[in-house]
Amino acid sequence: MSLSNLTKNIIEFLSVFDKVGIATSDDFEHLPNSKHPNQMMKDVKSAIVFVQSNKSGEMGIFEDYFSVIASQNDVVNYLNEFGYDAKVIDSNDSRISFVTMGVKSGVGDISPVNSLVVKGIGLTGTIGVILTNAPLNKTINNNKTCINCMRCLKVCPIRDVANAKGDLDNCACGKCVNICPV
């Protein structure tokens, strides 16, 4: 199986998601050790990043939720079949930044409130990451998605300046989500 076919099939497995991208080891080079994916997998070569829109405010219909889990399991099983390690990363795991992975994979762009802006989805996306030691092909996406309208920043209760860190303990969680026009 060629790497391009492997990559193509993985993207096909994840077609239930709105957007899929792949970052490769070159993309991780300049990440600090504290945020490097090799903390979670030795010899990590690729990060498969996928985003699902959550515009309804509900996580889709119930049946879709199982398909979403199944598709990620399919990718892990598929890579295992070819002798590669693969691991779905828990979204609560703060050792890597899902937003950074989203940007590195070309899935989206960073917003002024430090979340991932994805074309057609805005800030409503739920991000998932699978790390693998398979040297997959990097996907090419248009990174420049944010139009810098600053609407998200205007409603943000913890930031006055774009991309400031802010006090996340006081994050009101969600005010910015549906205001993004992208």
Binding site: N54, M59, K87, S91, N92, T126, C171, G174
Partner: protein, 139 residues
């Protein structure tokens, strides 16, 4: 509540299984109404169901107490019976559990995943033969 009880009480020995973990979930820590912020506990649900419904058997399955192979077999059979294409194996079990627990099954039908519903929500889903709608995960 009473209108639900009258029809449900006619059913013979409803079996409710609550699959859960003893590991505490950190959640996302936000203050919105996403599923991370639910304060409803497994213990409260079980107690409330026991008070409100008769002829029911409630079993709590703590996944850490079940042998991995047995848990995988049970879950795969449950998914098959419910028409889901999801399957698990040793490599995907941990991730899958992190997404579906707490899982509530009534007479082998999946009724709720990823959160503890209110008693009324669960009874409504049983009565209407549906599933409890999931809350959003905001973060």
């Amino acid at each position: 509540m009473r209108k639900y009880m009258s029809s449900i009480e006619m059913r013979f020995e409803m079996k409710i299984e609550v699959y859960d973990t003893n590991k505490k979930s950190s959640g996302c820590g936000c203050s919105c109404s996403c599923n991370s912020s639910s304060q409803y506990t497994r213990e409260y649900l079980i107690k409330d169901l026991s008070n409100k419904l008769s002829d029911i058997e409630i079993k709590t399955v703590i996944v850490e107490d079940v042998k991995t192979n047995s848990l995988i077999d049970n879950l795969n059979e449950l998914f098959r019976l419910n028409g889901e294409r999801l399957t698990v194996n040793e490599n995907t079990l941990y991730f899958t559990l992190s997404k579906i627990l707490p899982l509530i099954v009534v007479d082998e039908k999946i009724k709720c995943i990823n959160s503890i519903p209110t008693t009324d929500e669960l009874i409504d889903a049983i009565e209407k033969n549906t599933r409890v709608k999931m809350k959003a995960s905001c973060c």
